[in-house]
């Protein structure tokens, strides 16, 4: 029906005030498309041009115009809502494992519910609820985890028995089920009409909508968007929003300065049937059977059922752009396994007559999360695309966040997991995307267990030591395209294969990592940490120091050879980055950041450093191999190799010196380990990497040296209460909230970004506090392991969520890190969190519905630290994200 509705409105420029169409009802089935209306010419300029008239584009337009921006033009190459939006299944589902996605879906649901009333456009919104079925215990655990997240958000949701599920939906076969999750407020919509309603409201708010207008490319000058070239002329603009869905990649590459938007389309099939003899009620809940890889919703008395097969068919790899998605073939043989799953779930449907098999391409991203934000290279170029088949569920919320981002400079919540800048050019190879989405699409239905690694698109960036480490039993994970060691499997020991190693309980590598941790504590271990982002900032005069003093909260005017841990804060005092900066000389600095900061931090600095040819910023990530020597004997190994005294008197903590190691000269040695253990990180020019590694391993033998991986590192840093950026820290967390006041020098004699906000927090107190929890009655062998995102309860009331967790081999307990809030009992308002508030409470952590007692701590166990340190500093940093 939506298609018809649109056709009536095909007057290219769209005027909500036009009374002619307001009288028409969407149910009218007129096909009078003969009278081609006169095209209204495009404006010569606008503040914002949005490309794409699907759910994301209209949602962005809607929210921008609501927030007061009026000078907006929305361009659609075909008809509004005629692409994926029109074909998609129209399910609004809030059961999402990632917290920010859950929030977006929840907002979308509330938005769509009132949209018909607001706009007068019938959206088909029906609150049906949804049933997610579990065929296995592991699946039930994952549903319980989602249920915990939903509950603390105040979204009704229940874990129910198979029998209760049958009462909610009489057609399902429950014999192979172990349980289900019921979310009563999930809904169905007519997706095209939702988009249309959003467009209507936007149009009433002044947004100009032009159909049949395609954008050829976006012009960028001096790193800023200046305009848009279309097939109907040029529009000057300050902001461009790429909401082109599966064409977003193509559009991003069309300009002179490419914007890399890594997404790729896959065919997606669903089935429509005629009504049942006794038509299905339109209020019957949607059924999701992830183990069968299918979803089933009621549709006009019959059903609509699709799924995510194991062998997806990627398409448009060559970037063929077509106006509207037409003539895609139905492929019954391909759909066969899903049909089997459907008839297994609802055997009663055998006699139901088929109406159509719809082929509706969806775009998928390399990490299954959507893409939003501003281009790192072209300011004013925003993106919202790659919805991974959940465009309707996310569209409303995602549009709101993006609009906030454009209007306020940043969204009202932490959207880093969705930020375009988590990707770089390296994820934008067509071959990579084609291979990766073939893995991602089946993952939509696969069990999501902790520590899952993608298998495709691997071995792209590697350390020069890769082969050496691999031959010694290294098992790998990938971060920002870089291969990193998880742990080393000792010779003769076998681990489970990939599929069998999936677990929510104690993993098979437990003892292996335990041995590595022990070696870090008692002897010395080597971890290859080459993936970290490394920048060099230098200048002819004091420019580098001055700029960094302004951009970083700690005092960087330290003697040459000192290393400073510092946050790179935004105006609100939140962490944009957390890094270690070594002063290499009076005028140059060496900056170490988390691996996935490579694009974000670069863009942040580029946009804020003065345009001064005497000041240079260089990405030297690829130039150095980093070896982290952790453990009490690291000092012995290094002093034997360098013939230089390395003891704390000569080389205190947080120092940096260029020295020789073995035959190799010019190795940057820093006395930090990112774990709180004693030791050093060696930054080695890559051509010396193998030499230095061999020397270290040979010399280390007598001290019991061994290789270790990131899992050991993570356990060490979490038991020391080290927060890491991207996991614990984000743009909404200030140093004050995570016990890092000492890394902020409010009085460093010069203004810095975030200073004002931090001063205010210092005065008024913080509203959340980073806290460490030791699980008390948790049985490591028998109980579910914490991961992250578990709700924290204080005196029985929800106060926040965990952000990371690890087993501490030293404490022999699980340690969770997370934020504690103080929500007002009546209003829910966030109150000040004091030390007393934290200390005077009984805590519990909810793991998949089961609560475990936990002891809260605001400071790490001092007994865990053995190192002698420089007086004024405690090493308290670590940013090894999982």
């Amino acid at each position: 029906a939506a298609g018809m509705f649109l056709r009536l409105l095909s007057d290219i420029q769209w005027r909500a005030a036009n009374p002619k169409w307001r009288r028409m009802s969407s149910s009218q089935r007129s096909t009078s498309t003969t009278a081609e209306p006169h095209p209204v010419s495009l404006p010569a300029q606008a503040q914002v041009v949005i490309c794409g008239g699907g759910i994301t584009g209209t949602s962005v337009a809607y929210h921008l115009s609501k927030m007061g921006w009026k000078d907006i033009v929305l361009l659609e190459q075909g008809r509004l809502a005629a692409g994926t939006t029109r074909f998609c299944a129209g399910i609004v589902s809030t059961a999402r494992p990632v917290s920010i996605e859950l929030k977006m879906a929840h907002y979308s649901n509330k938005l769509y519910q009132q949209l018909e009333q607001e706009t007068g456009v019938p959206t088909g919104y029906t609150r049906t609820g949804s049933l997610s079925l579990a065929q296995t215990q592991d699946r039930l655990i994952s549903l319980k985890r989602v249920a915990s997240s939903l509950s603390v958000m105040g979204i009704p949701c229940e874990i129910i028995t198979p029998k209760q599920a049958l009462q909610l939906h009489p057609l399902i076969n429950i014999h192979d089920l172990v349980g289900a999750m019921y979310v009563p407020e999930d809904a169905l919509v007519t997706s095209a009409n939702v988009s249309l309603a959003l467009a209507t409201a936007a149009s009433r708010n002044g947004v100009q909508i032009h159909e049949r207008t395609s954008v050829s490319h976006v012009t960028v000058q001096k790193g800023r968007v200046t305009g848009v070239e279309t097939d109907r002329g040029r529009i000057q603009c300050q902001y461009f929003v790429n909401c082109a869905g599966q064409w977003a990649y193509e559009l991003g590459h069309s300009g002179e300065e490419p914007v890399h938007i890594p997404l790729h389309a896959c065919e997606h099939f669903y089935l429509l049937t005629h009504p049942l003899t006794e038509p299905l009620s339109s209020s019957l809940p949607t059924v999701v059977d992830p183990d069968g890889r299918i979803y089933i919703r009621n549709w006009q008395g019959g059903i609509l059922s699709g799924g995510f097969e194991k062998n997806p068919k990627p398409l448009f790899t060559e970037g063929r752009n077509q106006l509207e998605i037409q003539n895609l073939q139905e492929d019954w043989d391909h759909f066969g396994p899903l049909l089997s799953a459907l008839l297994r779930r609802m055997p009663g449907l055998e006699a139901l007559q088929i109406l159509q098999l719809v082929n509706c391409p969806e775009s998928f991203t390399p990490d299954m999360r959507c893409i939003m934000g501003e281009s790192p290279t072209a300011r004013g170029y925003f993106v919202l695309a790659g919805m991974n088949s959940a465009g309707i569920s996310y569209g409303g919320g995602a549009g709101k966040y993006l609009a906030e981002w454009m209007v306020n400079g940043y969204p009202s919540d932490n959207v880093w997991p969705l930020d375009l800048k988590r990707f770089g050019t390296l994820q934008s190879s067509r071959t990579f995307l084609r291979h990766r989405v073939m893995e991602v699409m089946p993952l939509m239905c696969d069990l999501k267990v902790p520590r899952w690694d993608f298998q495709t698109g691997r071995q792209l960036r590697t350390s020069p030591l890769y082969d050496r480490l691999d031959a010694q039993g290294a098992r790998w994970m990938e971060k920002h395209g870089f291969e990193r060691v998880k742990y080393f499997v000792p010779p003769g020991k076998d681990l489970l294969d990939l599929d069998h190693s999936k677990t929510f309980y104690k993993p098979d590598w437990f003892d292996i990592v335990g041995a590595e941790v022990k070696c870090c504590k008692e002897a010395v271990c080597v971890i290859d940490m080459s993936s970290f982002t490394k920048f060099e900032i230098s200048s002819t005069g004091d420019q580098a120091l001055e700029s960094l003093q302004y951009l970083f909260s700690n005092d960087l005017d330290v003697p040459v050879g000192h290393v400073v841990h510092t946050g790179m804060l935004n105006e609100k005092g939140g962490y944009e980055n957390d890094c270690s900066i070594a002063r290499i000389s009076k005028r140059s600095f060496f900056m170490i950041s988390p691996t996935d900061q490579q694009v974000h931090c670069w863009a942040w600095l580029k946009n804020r450093l003065p345009d001064d040819s005497n000041l240079t910023l260089e990405d030297v990530t690829w130039k150095y191999t980093a070896l982290n020597l952790i453990g009490p004997r690291a000092v012995d190994v290094l002093s034997e190799l360098s013939y230089a005294p390395m003891t704390a008197e000569h080389f205190p903590s947080l120092f940096c010196k260029e020295m020789s190691v073995g035959y190799a000269n010019g190795i940057r040695v820093m006395s930090i380990t990112h774990t709180g253990e004693p030791g050093f990180v060696l930054y080695i020019p890559i051509e010396y990497a193998l030499h230095v590694y061999n020397e270290v391993m040979n010399m280390g033998q007598k001290y019991g040296i061994r290789n270790a991986g990131y899992y050991a590192l993570r356990s060490l840093r979490i038991e020391k209460f080290f927060a890491f950026w991207g996991q614990d820290l984000d743009a909404f967390t200030t140093p004050m909230e995570c016990g890092r006041e000492f890394q902020v020098k409010l009085e460093k004699g010069m203004e810095f970004v975030g200073q004002e906000a931090l001063l205010e927090q210092k005065q008024n107190g913080v509203h959340k506090r980073f806290t460490m929890f030791i699980l008390e009655d948790h049985d490591t062998d028998m109980d579910l392991w914490p991961w992250w995102g578990e709700p924290i309860f204080r005196n029985g009331r929800y106060v926040g969520k965990t952000t990371s967790s690890a087993y501490s081999y030293t404490l022999e307990r699980h340690v969770c890190l997370g934020f504690v809030h103080n929500f007002d009992e009546k209003t829910g308002e966030e109150l000040v969190v004091t030390t007393d508030f934290i200390n005077q409470g009984e805590y519990e952590i909810d793991i998949a519905g089961q609560r475990f007692q936990a002891k809260a701590k605001l400071y790490p166990f001092s007994s865990l630290f053995t190192q002698r340190r420089r007086k004024d500093e405690v090493e308290l940093s670590g940013y090894q994200r999982e």
């Binding site: 139905e330 019954w332 043989d333 066969g336 049909l339 459907l342 055998e350 006699a351 007559q353 067509r430």
Partner: protein, 458 residues
Amino acid sequence: FYLTPPQVNSILKANEYSFKVPEFDGKNVSSVLGFDSNQLPANAPIEDRRSAATCLQTRGMLLGVFDGHAGCACAQAVSERLFYYIAVSLLPHETLLEIENAVESGRALLPILQWHKHPNDYFSKEASKLYFNSLRTYWQELIDLNSGETTDVREALINAFKRLDNDISLEAQVGDPNSFLNYLVLRVAFSGATACVAHVDGVDLHIANTGDSRAMLGVQEEDGSWSAVNLSYDHNAQNEHEVERVKMEHPKSEEKSLVKQDRLLGLLMPFRAFGDVKFKWSIELQKRVIESGPDQLNDNEYTKFIPPNYHTPPYLTAEPEVIHHKLRPQDKFLVLATDGLWETMHRQDVARIVGEYLTGVHHQQPIAVGGYKVTLGQMHGLLTERRARISSVFEDQNAATHLIRHAVGNNEFGTVDHERLSKMLSLPEELARMYRDDITIIVVQFNSHVIGAYQNEE
């Protein structure tokens, strides 16, 4: 005694090999998609050989099947050497110079061929030096000859065949100080091999054939049916032109003794072959070489035996007949196979079986519901049945294996009979040769898109 289906499969698949031309950035720009090959022995050891390689210094791909007789030595040598001779014949003067200079100064050599070999396809390590020296002499001569003309593929193929056969003959006459090698070169020369070689470069397909192996093109007609086009002529008694040729080359007095019982001099089935110096050398030369040769050779009745009515050698040549074919989009595949296949199957059946196999793999006729009334249950049944049908085709992941299965197992109705297949494959070694010959098959699949694009360019 009865072989189970998995046992049958493991026998049939033991030698199968597949090669897919690698795609770059999601695209394959070659006119060849890839090939499947397989061998089923009847002799022990098998006397057939196969080779496949990509030319690295010129464009194109080489594929060949070689049917040995009187031992496998000659077929083995030809399978190792012939493609190098062809590749060298195709090389432009500058590249030859470059290669010669590299050898002269001890630098690394440009690789000439990229081989696509099954692990069982071996190269003789011992002879590699000897073979290399002969090859080097050949290219040195080519350099000296420098005609300055661009190399014609037909000519290159003919030259390569003749030159290799000549080298085989010369090496045997000269001998080698190393006794192992000396015996090897003699065995190569006294045994024989036919060769059927394809050179594919864009839309240009050349087939060079010596002997009774065969090349056949699979063509899909507009109505979807399959037909076979021969791209080689068998060189045997059934080929009138071939009989005519042999007769022309010898005095009228020998006319009656030349071809007896459909065999050359009453002995040899193929009328052209590599090696077989017994049909090429003068009697004096044969005697001299055998006498001065190792004892094993002297003790061998076959080698000592001089063919009857042997008056005007040579009676046999390795010169190939070359056929050139411009590939068209409807040319879907090429089958190269030794006579072991063609004895048991008609080429029409070969075309149909391979054609249906390949399309079954790639585009099964899609189902469309259209306006029909179909229920979910009916559709489910239909799809289940189709899957079962496909999986029987998918039992073979290799077109050559699929063809062998039919060649050995077909019953009178043209379908594979498992019992018959099991019996044929469990024959004891000494009996196997009575019921079937060695079979070697290469199925090359063409890339119609690329071929179509070439056509449009022209």
